[in-house]
């Protein structure tokens, strides 16, 4: 028996459930990008706000629109911006590979552990992910210092005779990135590996396949969606990373996130910073769409 109230409530719940998140994200997530795009086409000026308007009414009925492509031109021509962009992509690539090399065996070991141990092992992966990112990056400063604990330990072991300079080098950035983003790689991989059908491996074994071969021929191809998802979750945010290179990296090697920050706050060039953001977004669109597509396939496969 359905009363008219029920269908009214349905309609209301639809309105709230779909409408409110849409409204919020449209206003505070989508609209800002439109504004960034608009400002990237403006020119800087010494006023508040520090950029020119894109259009103005010069007289009755005549609208003047001025689009300034100079910011993008500058980014394309000035070597500093290109170098920063390439450096960011490189750090993200090395970080992603590092996370994958360390994270895959870990995810695999957890996924194949006895069921009762999986949740505690997984909790131990999630715990650092919940604790402060800033504090975890900070912890490495004390470790990697010239007179820090790692050098002290290596000197004590006799492996090295002089302290290594690790802090404020590119190596420190790689370490920091792998350390901070490792859980982002392990969690999707774990989710993927536990959903694999174990009968496939049994079938492979029954047909005389050795465990290692079964891994490379069955498990590894089937875990590709997990690998791609984890890699994207690491790669995309690392390209724009700001804190890790600033605290651990060398001042000489710029990443695009830091450059954007400098243009915005130090040089007060809002249009150029916006243009950098647009370029960064454009670079990230491909991996982003890839991840989104994969996630959707995953959802469809499950239902």
């Amino acid at each position: 028996m359905k009363s008219p109230h029920v269908s009214n409530e349905r309609r209301l719940s639809r309105l709230f459930n779909i409408g409110l998140p849409y409204l919020w994200l449209g206003l505070f997530f989508l609209l800002p990008f439109v504004i960034v795009l608009r400002i990237s086409l403006a020119e800087p000026q010494l006023a508040q706000p520090p950029y020119t308007a894109l259009w103005e009414w010069i007289e009755q009925g005549v609208l003047q629109i001025r689009l300034n492509l100079g910011n993008f031109q500058l980014i394309g021509e000035d070597e500093m911006y290109l170098a920063a962009l390439l450096n960011s992509l490189w750090v993200a690539l090395v970080g992603t590979l590092g996370c994958l090399l360390l994270g895959y065996p870990m995810a695999y070991a957890i996924a194949t552990a006895p069921e009762s141990r999986r949740i505690p092992l997984l909790m131990l992966i999630i715990l650092p992910f919940w604790t402060s990112f800033l504090i975890r990056v900070y912890a490495w400063i004390g470790l990697l210092n010239a007179n820090g604990l790692l050098n002290g330990f290596l000197l004590w072991l006799g492996v090295i005779e002089e302290p290594l300079k690790i802090l404020h080098t590119q190596t420190a950035v790689y370490i920091g990135v792998i350390y901070s983003y490792l859980p982002f790689m392990i969690l999707p991989l774990y989710a993927n590996l536990t959903r694999l059908d174990p009968t496939l491996l049994e079938a492979a074994a029954d047909l005389g396949c050795r465990p290692f071969r079964a891994f490379t021929r069955v498990t590894l191809p089937l875990s590709m969606p997990g690998i791609v998802a984890g890699s994207m979750l690491v790669f995309i945010p690392v390209v724009g990373e700001f804190v890790i290179p600033d605290l651990l990296g060398s001042p000489g090697s710029l990443m695009v996130g830091k450059l954007m920050w400098t243009e915005f706050f130090a040089n007060k060039d809002w249009p150029l910073a916006s243009a950098l953001a647009i370029v960064l977004l454009a670079v990230l669109v491909v991996p982003f769409v890839l991840m989104q597509r994969l996630q959707q396939d995953d959802e469809d496969g499950r239902t």
């Binding site: 505070f28 997530f29 504004i35 504090i135 912890a139 995309i236 945010p237």
Partner: protein
């Protein structure tokens, strides 16, 4: 279970050591008497004492906690609504768009979110006069925008796995949809709601980059204070503060973990 493969186990052990050794050393050195972070000169609580007298730091912490609590509460409501939309309302128009809007904040670099939010607030202030200056409200709005996506992920997976027979039984007995949702569904997904709230809370408490963009003079959050003092050099007081943060978060996660296991 089959015989375990030892190289795999050693990678696992190395991975856990990699994750935990830096944090454990940090905690250990927070009890160090010496001002030099690398020299151990005896056990002491003195840095914790100094922490309690650092008014700038306490103010920042209080501001951060208030922002995080308000953020987590609103993000929980909006994120749960979004999760409902995706799990309960089938293939509505604009579904792909909502999925996209909920995935993007999870991976979008912080600098881009921060910059775009600030430019939005500046544009709004010019056109409608709000927000008048930046601080508590702008930081909270920015935090809600990215943390609601995390809440949606957590609540959505719980909703999708939920056994719907209790809801159907209540429906058959004549309960209206809203009553069913409030009396049956919400209690069933309560653990996910708790972990969603905690996740949003810690994300907000931890955010440096976005908050730095959208804060104004006079509104300094805890990560901003930590960051500026870390850039000056390592300080034992920050070790003590970090230890407190780590211990509190670990406690919260363990409690949330246990309540999730009980279902």
């Amino acid at each position: 279970m089959k015989r375990r493969f030892w190289p795999l186990l050693s990678v696992l052990a190395f991975g856990y050591a990699f994750l935990y050794v830096p944090i454990l050393l940090l905690i250990l050195y927070s009890f160090n008497e010496s001002r030099l972070v690398t020299v151990w000169s005896g056990f002491s609580f003195k840095w914790y004492g100094e922490l309690l007298h650092n008014q700038q730091l306490l103010d920042a912490a209080w501001l951060s906690v208030r922002i995080a609590a308000l953020n987590a509460t609103i993000a929980l409501v909006l994120g749960t609504l979004a999760a409902n939309a995706l799990v309960r309302h089938g293939r509505f128009r604009g579904r792909t768009g909502l999925e996209l809007l909920l995935t993007a904040p999870l991976v979008m670099p912080d600098v881009i979110i921060g910059l775009s939010m600030l430019l939005l607030f500046v544009a709004l202030q010019q056109t409608i006069g709000w927000p008048d200056g930046r601080g508590f409200s702008t930081i909270t709005i920015a935090h809600i925008t990215f943390s609601l996506a995390y809440v949606a992920v957590v609540v959505r997976s719980r909703l999708a796995r939920m056994d719907s027979s209790l809801e159907e039984a209540a429906m058959d007995l004549g309960a209206r949809p809203l009553t069913v949702y409030l009396r049956i569904t919400l209690p069933l997904i309560a653990p996910a709601l708790l972990s969603g709230w905690l996740l949003a809370f810690t994300l907000s408490l931890d955010d440096l980059v976005i908050a730095s963009f959208v804060s104004g003079p006079g509104s300094t959050t805890l990560p901003m204070v930590i960051y500026s003092s870390v850039r000056m050099g390592v300080s034992p007081q920050i070790n003590a503060l970090a230890t407190l943060v780590v211990v509190l978060v670990a406690l919260a996660v363990v409690i949330a973990g246990f309540s999730l296991r009980r279902r």
